[in-house]
């Protein structure tokens, strides 16, 4: 909301207060002034001056030497090159030391030998246009018009361009500050200076009989309109509004249209009450009806757009047709035109939520709809209407008829709030007396008395936000100043600050993966079916069908909550690969969601880990090695296993499932080449995904028991076996382990060979076996016996032969 300083000064004395002070005072009281617009602020030492005498410059055929009256008593010599100045003209003169817009400094000097103590100014030099001042656009000096001049008066003051405009951003609980008077009220309290409200003369009596021959008003939708007031004005003379009003409206960023419309806008800015003027001669049956729109009812609004309404929208109608969208915009059908003779002036309170919904649905938010949405002062409805009538009268724009129509469904009694002084002091860590608090509330125009250490506060209607003790505390706090509350440290019982087991495990995973060369990525949680198409998911893939849908997404590509981190990871791989980064490792920890079959519960949320490798050095086994290192670091049960299998977006021959016991904890594999090409990933990529919610609870947290170091030497043996080519190395190792006897501690695959010399239907798997006994030095015979047992079992199980 724009608030010109000069307009504020109409209601509260602002002498000796700088714009910056006002900004700070209001901001620290909770009415944030986000900026100060001061376009003419740079102009200084430019005064109204009279050309007393003019002579032609002796050394120039186009310059004149002027003797100027600048109010100092002594004539001042200024040389000008302008051709439109004559003796007796009043002009703006920039004196020695003056500043013009753009930071231009004026200094005295000599022009072709003649002293010049300043410069006569054109409109352009003062950043003025014809709209700002009639002669500002002429080629030459801006000759001032009129006959009431005082030499030496500051030109900004003279022209009324001394305009500092504040940009105020009231918090949502203070819609009263969406008006000049509302802001002035805060300023008056803050500066402890009196608030001067416009005096509204009696412009006719008030009647509540709303049915007469001239006008009747009915509110059919009482839930959406708590008060509707109207006034009729005859003998309307449409003309431009006076210059002072135009200047004010321009300063707050409104266009000027004609006197009637300008008055409604002026009052809206002044009091915060939006108003509307109808051409009353078009009102059928002299009857105003406030009702819900009929289905598919059509209304062309003032912006010349045809709007199709629905039954949730509130309209103002006559007996035949809608004539305005209540609180949003008037209808074109009863627009004020040059021919308008009779005006119906509306001042009403409509339901804020309804107005906002209508405005949003139709995409036509306005100054009026914003104010209705945020809530209006129901007492202000009447004052604003009377103020508008008075202005119409004062400006001779029409004749006010004798009646004010008022249909009010709301209770106009002021609420009384009680708040305990002790409680407020306690919450705010202050020690104010009841009288001090009462003074604060009184200064804020909330009449307060003290009864037995309780504040009894009368709440004016412009402070509907005041609901309870906490609100009173808030008012006290902001007036005292939050910065004046002494910081303290919490007292009370000690509380354990700590991380949970799972939070510590997550930290460990993050740092371990960094240690394994991976960078952490964070991707959006949204995805869409197009993404799943790229991943080559079938239409009935659970990842697709169990996705949680967003009802109001940013487009179809962002309509689903991801069911897998792989979507994001594929994009990360693609982004980096396309930017020619040759190799990288990434990981992301994040939540995935799935529909919950139980509608009573929220969608399921699972914390997942996703790891990716890409580059010439990477393959399935480098990634698998990272996963294994991580599992070992997390003390995952040694019983975890890995079997072939996994989702469709992996290479069919290069994917694996990880399990611990019967629980599947994740999967990994090479990304399917079709998926890679769909994402534009040029080389092979590898991805692993692990459910942290499944894995982490299974990881050991018991205190480990020390096992004494081996005291007897170990024996290592290598065993190369020829097996059918499809044999799984993991299964074979498992069998070796099972049959190797109690001294076999470790089985490690160290070589895989496949070649013509052993036959293409077989391969050679070489394992190193580590034997160790706790209680004696192993003998060769013991190890030999174990090897024999192993050979027997693997021959039976896998047709394996020693190489």
């Amino acid at each position: 909301m724009k608030a010109p300083m000069s307009w504020l000064a109409d209601y509260v004395d602002l002498t000796d207060v700088t714009p910056k002070q006002i900004q700070d005072i209001l901001t620290l009281r909770g009415l944030e002034i986000t900026s100060i617009d001061d376009v003419y602020g740079e102009i200084s030492n430019v005064v109204v001056a009279r050309v007393e005498k003019m002579t032609v410059h002796p050394d120039s055929d186009h310059m004149f030497i002027c003797q100027m009256d600048v109010g100092s008593g002594e004539p001042l010599q200024i040389v000008t090159g302008a051709q439109n100045v004559s003796e007796g003209d009043w002009v703006p003169a920039a004196l020695h030391g003056a500043t013009l817009p753009g930071g231009v400094k004026i200094k005295k000097g000599k022009l072709r030998g003649e002293v010049s103590n300043g410069m006569l100014c054109s409109g352009e030099e003062l950043l003025l246009q014809e709209g700002d001042y009639p002669t500002a656009g002429v080629d030459g000096i801006m000759i001032l018009q009129g006959d009431d001049f005082v030499a030496g008066v500051d030109i900004k003051e003279f022209l009324g361009i001394n305009e500092v405009v504040f940009e105020a951003e009231p918090t949502p609980n203070r819609p009263d500050c969406l008006s000049i008077i509302g802001i002035a009220r805060e300023l008056s309290a803050a500066l402890d200076r009196e608030l001067h409200l416009p005096e509204i003369a009696n412009v006719g009596e008030l009647v509540e009989d709303v049915h007469s021959n001239t006008l009747s008003i009915d509110i059919e939708a009482g839930d959406l309109c708590s008060r509707y007031m109207a006034r009729l004005l005859n003998d309307i003379k449409i003309e431009p509004s006076p210059e002072w009003m135009q200047r004010k409206l321009k300063a707050v960023g409104l266009n000027t249209i004609n006197n009637i419309v300008d008055i409604t806008n002026f009052v809206m800015m002044e009091y915060g009450q939006p108003m509307h003027a109808f051409d009353f001669d078009g009102v059928e049956g002299n009857h105003i009806i406030v009702r819900r729109a009929k289905g598919e009812e059509v209304l062309t609004t003032l912006d010349e757009k045809e709007r199709t309404l629905n039954e949730s929208m509130l309209v103002i109608a006559d007996e035949k047709k809608a004539i305005a969208l209540a609180g949003v915009m008037g209808g074109e059908n009863l627009e004020i035109t040059d021919q308008t003779k009779t005006v119906l002036l509306e001042s009403a309170v409509f339901d804020g939520y309804n107005v906002r919904q209508t405005a949003k649905t139709l995409g036509m938010s306005s100054d009026a709809s914003t104010r209705f949405s945020k809530g209006l002062d129901i007492e202000g409805t009447k004052i604003a209407l009377l103020r508008a009538c008075q202005l119409i009268q004062d400006m001779n724009a029409g004749a006010v008829q004798g009646q004010t129509y008022d249909v009010c469904c709301a209770d106009l009694t002021r609420r009384i709030l009680r708040a305990r002084v002790e409680k407020i002091n306690q919450i705010l860590a202050l020690s104010l007396s009841a009288q001090e608090m009462a003074a604060i509330l009184n200064s804020l125009f909330m009449p307060t008395i003290v009864e037995d250490q309780i504040l009894v506060v009368e709440i004016p209607h412009f402070r509907e936000d005041m609901e309870g003790e906490a609100d009173v505390a808030e008012e006290v706090a902001r007036v005292i100043g939050h910065n004046n509350i002494q910081p303290t440290l919490m007292r009370g019982d000690l509380v354990r600050g700590r991380l949970t087991k799972q939070q510590k495990q997550l930290d460990r995973i993050r740092y371990d993966l960094c240690g394994l060369g991976a960078y952490e990525s964070i991707t959006y949680a949204f995805t869409g079916n197009s993404e799943y198409d790229q991943m080559q998911l079938s239409q009935d893939d659970p990842l697709r069908v169990e996705s949680v849908k967003i009802a109001n997404p940013f487009g179809e590509d962002n309509a689903l909550m991801r069911t897998t981190l792989v979507v994001g990871m594929l994009n990360v791989i693609a982004t980096n690969a396309k930017r020619r980064i040759p190799d990288f490792r990434f990981f992301e920890i994040g939540y995935v969601h799935r529909k919950n079959p139980n509608p009573e519960e929220l969608p399921t949320q699972t914390q997942m880990l996703c790891i990716a490798c890409y580059g010439p050095q990477e393959d399935f086994y480098t990634l698998k090695g990272m996963v294994e290192s991580l599992l070992s670091s997390l003390d995952a049960p040694a019983s975890w296993s890995c079997t072939a299998g996994g989702d469709e977006y992996y290479h069919p021959g290069r994917k694996a499932l990880f399990s611990i016991g019967r629980e599947q904890i994740g999967q990994m594999g090479e990304v399917h080449p079709d998926v890679c090409s769909a994402y534009g990933i040029p080389k092979r990529a590898y991805i692993a995904e692990i459910s942290l919610d499944a894995l982490l609870p299974l990881c050991a947290t018991k205190v480990k028991k020390f096992k004494s170091l081996p005291r007897y030497p170990a024996i290592d043996r290598d065993l190369a076996l020829i097996v059918p080519v499809e044999t799984e190395a993991g299964a074979l190792a498992e069998m070796i382990k099972r049959n190797g006897g109690k001294y076999l501690q470790n089985v490690n695959l160290f070589d895989v060979y496949h070649g013509e010399n052993i036959g293409l239907d077989v391969k050679s798997l070489a394992y190193s076996l580590h034997y160790q006994a706790d209680d004696h030095t192993l003998k060769d015979e013991e190890v030999n016996q174990s090897i024999q047992e192993i050979l027997k079992s693997v021959e039976k199980g896998f047709s394996a032969k020693i190489r």
Binding site: T27, L28, R29, G30, T171, N173, R356, K360, Q426, I427, L428, A429, G468, A470, D471, A473, E474, H482, I485, Q486, P487, T488, L489, M490, L494, V495, R496, G497, R498, L499, T500, D507, R510, L513, G515, L516, G517, A518, Y519, E520, S521, I522, T523, Y524, F526, K549, I550, A551, P553, M561, V572, T575, N576, R579, F584, F586, F587, H593, L602, Q605
Partner: protein, 352 residues
């Protein structure tokens, strides 16, 4: 070298001869600078057929009464020579080693063989740094669902159904009663429902708002909120705790400024600004010449919120606060476009 032989009655001679041998060996050894030559000399002198051995052999010619004396003398000389040669060998060995090491010299300015190491995302780094400060002040860390009941995200936070933030234009809905949480405040509600005061908790996490993407807006961003509930908690405590936080995070020179503000779930509400971290308060582009930048929103928990979760506002009071992790991260590193945070370009991530 000439040969020496013992002659009866020539003891004095013998001593001279022996000294002569020692001198000659010492001289010879000092000129040798190869280990094998030194070894050859040792064998020549001390070996089975060496000079000294030969002298010893000629002991049979010495008078029996002189033998002990002569023997002792010869042995003394032998030890002396042995020790000398030994020492000489150490010197040569050390010299040879130095030579060898000299040849093994490498160019230490060549780059190291890089062991790949990754980094945490800047958002996580900020989040962990903030988290650890609060854990140090006795706070627990809580998390909650990203898809949340509207009831927890709005109603119980004193945000009525008619509030603008509940419009479809501002929040993402799943159904009318489920919403992508617009702040992590519902985690505060869940904590208060589950746990009796005293409560000191922070809740980091992702939040969602229907903002169009641009340099400063993202429909998904991260927050850390905090909550303290106990008997007698005051606004002074709120300011004190957040001042400790700001000084830990930004350094002791940081100044705080509070501005009254409005949030439906706190009252009084206050916005905390800190002196600009770039210019220190003099005014610059980052703080738009004000000297201050916005840090967080906070306030005393609204009695309606406490009542809603079954905590008696007459007995307990508390405060809550919330940061935007993305904004603080961008401010800290001077990142000018929030979108970079979610693009995961390695060249970006490597910088932090």
């Amino acid at each position: 070298m000439k040969k020496y032989f013992f002659k009866r009655g020539k003891i004095m001679d013998l001593k001279e001869q022996l000294q002569d041998i020692v001198d000659q060996i010492t001289q010879a050894a000092e000129q040798i600078d190869a280990l094998d030559e030194l070894e050859a000399l040792r064998i020549k002198v001390l070996g089975k057929k060496g000079d000294l051995t030969e002298i010893l052999r000629s002991m049979k010619d010495v008078l029996p009464e002189e033998r002990p004396m002569v023997g002792a003398k010869v042995n003394e000389i032998r030890e002396q020579v042995t020790e000398f040669l030994q020492e000489r060998r150490y010197v040569l060995q050390r010299k040879q080693k130095m030579q060898q090491l000299g040849q093994e010299k490498i160019d230490v300015t060549e780059p190291g063989a890089i062991q790949p190491i990754g980094k945490l995302h800047p958002l996580t780094q900020t989040m962990l740094e903030i988290r650890d400060i609060f854990v140090g002040m006795g706070f627990e860390v809580k998390e909650g669902p990203e898809i949340e009941w509207s009831k927890y995200n709005f109603d119980m936070l004193n945000i009525p159904p008619t509030h603008p933030s509940r419009d479809m234009q501002d929040s993402f809905y799943i159904q009318s009663d489920t919403v992508l949480r617009t702040h992590t405040s519902p985690v505060q509600i869940r904590t208060m429902l589950e746990q009796k005061p005293p409560i000191r908790m922070i809740c980091p996490g992702r939040v969602f708002r229907s903002d169009d993407v641009d340099a400063t807006h993202s429909p998904i961003f991260n927050q850390i909120e905090g909550l303290v509930i106990d008997r007698g908690v005051t606004m002074g405590d709120l300011i004190g705790v957040l001042e400790v936080f700001a000084k830990e995070f930004y350094g002791d020179k940081i100044k705080l400024k509070l501005r009254p503000s409005y949030f439906p779930f706190t009252e009084p509400s206050t916005e905390i600004d800190i002196s600009c971290t770039v210019c220190g308060g003099k005014g610059c582009r980052v703080c738009k010449d004000t000297g201050w930048i916005e840090l967080l929103g906070s306030g005393m928990v609204h009695p309606n919120v406490l009542r809603g979760v079954g905590i008696d506002p007459e007995e307990y009071s508390g405060f809550a606060f919330g940061f935007g992790v993305d904004r603080i991260t961008n401010m800290k590193y001077g990142i000018t476009d929030i979108r970079l945070l979610y693009e995961d370009d390695l060249r970006f991530l490597k910088q932090f």
